[in-house]
């Protein structure tokens, strides 16, 4: 009996509480930097595309919304000839970002993706590629991976076999 009256009284006191509602279109909610929203392709600090078209993002994607095709430029550097994300399928799980070895594909705090035409939900490479570095500044895959640190030569580590001589026919 007392607890019922107390419940009613405590509910009544909520009249003096501030509303939690954020009136969205006029007032934007705070989105944390690691919010998983729209997907972008970033460039490294030299302004070149980070993406090396390894297809790991497309393999990781649980809804198969990413499709791309690899090609090479004159220096032998791989890049995607096209890169397509179907946002009407995307579930914003962020697996592609986790799979990416070069920090190329990133999810950013932007969720306003509504379109009147369903076909406009399919983003091509020119829509995805941005001119910045996204969340990871001064990271360049080619300056960090495969760089000789002067510790050991190829094939000198424990459990590591000597490199295969491609010009030798012997087993």
């Amino acid at each position: 009996m007392i607890s019922i009256l107390r419940t009613i009284w405590l509910t009544f006191l909520h009249i003096f509480h501030k509303s939690e509602t954020i009136e969205y279109p006029e007032e934007k909610p705070y989105l944390p930097p690691r919010y998983r929203g729209r997907i972008v392709l970033t460039r490294d600090n030299e302004g070149k595309e980070r993406c090396v078209a390894c297809n790991l993002c497309a393999a990781a994607c649980p809804v198969d919304c990413i499709s791309l095709e690899a090609t090479e430029d004159e220096d032998g550097r791989r890049y995607p000839s096209f890169f397509r994300i179907n946002f009407s399928r995307c579930i914003f799980c962020g697996f592609c970002e986790e799979a990416c070895p070069t920090y190329a594909i990133q999810l950013i705090p932007d969720f306003e993706l509504a379109e009147y035409d369903r076909q406009n939900m399919v983003y091509e490479k020119e829509h995805l590629l941005i001119n910045g570095e996204g969340k990871y500044h001064d990271y360049n895959f080619y300056r960090n991976a495969g760089v000789d640190m002067g510790v050991k030569e190829k094939g000198e580590g424990d459990n590591e076999e000597k490199p295969v001589d491609l010009n030798d026919l012997m087993p």
Binding site: T7, I8, L10, T11, F12, H14, I15, H17, S19, E20
Partner: protein, 314 residues
């Protein structure tokens, strides 16, 4: 001519309060849940009522093929009719009521009993197991609570020596009946919640268990009539509480009597919505137990005590 104006006024006031409650309830509930509620349509979202009504009118008004068509269509009308009829005997002001019946309270009790038919017939005609369960629960609940709803009012009738609402209001010039009839008020208030099958006693609807209870199959404006009927019921019970226990239109003379009546009524509507915001729905058997084992003895005790005191004084 004067008579027609009063009828129009009573219908206008009661229907517009009931319709406005659609918005009031949603706003108040959201305030108590730290939300904002509907505030987009018109100033403070007031036109939400209009938007909802237009929406209901344009919804498909579908009668199920398995339903008993005539009864199905009639049921929501019975609810509205019985409640609106009761407003005829409620005094909104000293000379502002449609008919000052000398058996006003009996008229109200009779009409609220007839209101059960609407729900039972609506649930039965829907030919749907959930509707039928809801209707059976409604009939059991309303029959139970009807018993001591009447008994709890008898104390007031004894003190005022009349069944007429007008005479009861006049009898409260010396003091509101809430003080001598406190237990009667408590019992009547709880019975009133059960009678309008409002939360926390919305067991006939119980959307967690019975989809929407007796009006599961209703759509369009037929559903709208059940919906507005519920709000009319709240308004009616609030108006009757204000009349019988809180002096009706009596009040300091700087406001006209109608305003005092409306302020008191709106206060009890507010309490109804506060109860909805705070209390969970009891189990069905708990409701019956509360009714028969607690409220009925309290009502009888109140009746006996009031009678004894009145005899002793005279």
């Amino acid at each position: 001519m004067h008579y027609l104006l009063i009828i129009a006024g009573v219908i206008l006031i009661s229907l517009s309060i009931a319709a406005g409650l659609i918005w009031v309830e949603r706003r108040l509930l959201s305030v108590w849940q730290d939300r904002l509620g509907p505030n987009r349509v018109g100033p403070f979202g007031l036109l939400q009522v209009l938007a909802d009504t237009i929406k209901l009118f344009f919804k498909e008004d579908w009668v199920p093929k398995f339903a008993d068509k005539a009864v199905f269509i009639m049921a929501p009308g019975i609810l509205m009719a019985t409640i609106l009829l009761t407003f005829a005997v409620i005094p909104f002001g000293p000379r502002f009521n449609v008919y000052d019946s000398n058996i006003g309270i009996l008229f109200f009790l009779g009409n609220s009993s007839l209101g059960v038919y609407s729900i039972v017939l609506g649930g039965w005609a829907s030919n749907n197991k959930y509707s039928l369960i809801g209707a059976m629960r409604a009939s059991a609940q309303m029959l139970t609570y009807e018993v001591f709803m009447g008994l709890s009012l008898m104390g007031v009738v004894m003190m005022a020596d009349s069944f007429s609402f007008h005479a009861i209001v006049e009898a409260q010039r010396g003091g509101w009946f809430i003080i001598p009839q406190f237990f009667g008020f408590v019992v009547f208030f709880i019975a009133g919640i059960a009678e309008t099958h409002r939360l926390p006693f919305d067991i006939p609807e119980a959307e967690g268990e019975l989809v929407a209870g007796y009006h599961s199959e209703y759509s369009g404006m037929k559903f709208g009539m059940f919906f507005v009927g519920e709000y009319l019921g709240i308004t009616l019970i609030s108006a009757i509480i204000a009349t019988l226990f809180f002096g009706g239109w009596l009040g300091p003379s700087f406001l006209p009597p109608v305003f005092w009546f409306l302020i008191k009524t709106l206060f009890f509507i507010f309490i109804f919505i506060l109860l909805r915001a705070s209390l969970p729905r009891p189990r069905y058997d708990q409701l019956m137990k509360l009714g028969w084992k607690f409220l009925l003895p309290v009502a009888l005790f109140n009746l006996l005590a009031t009678g004894a005191v009145l005899i002793f004084i005279k």
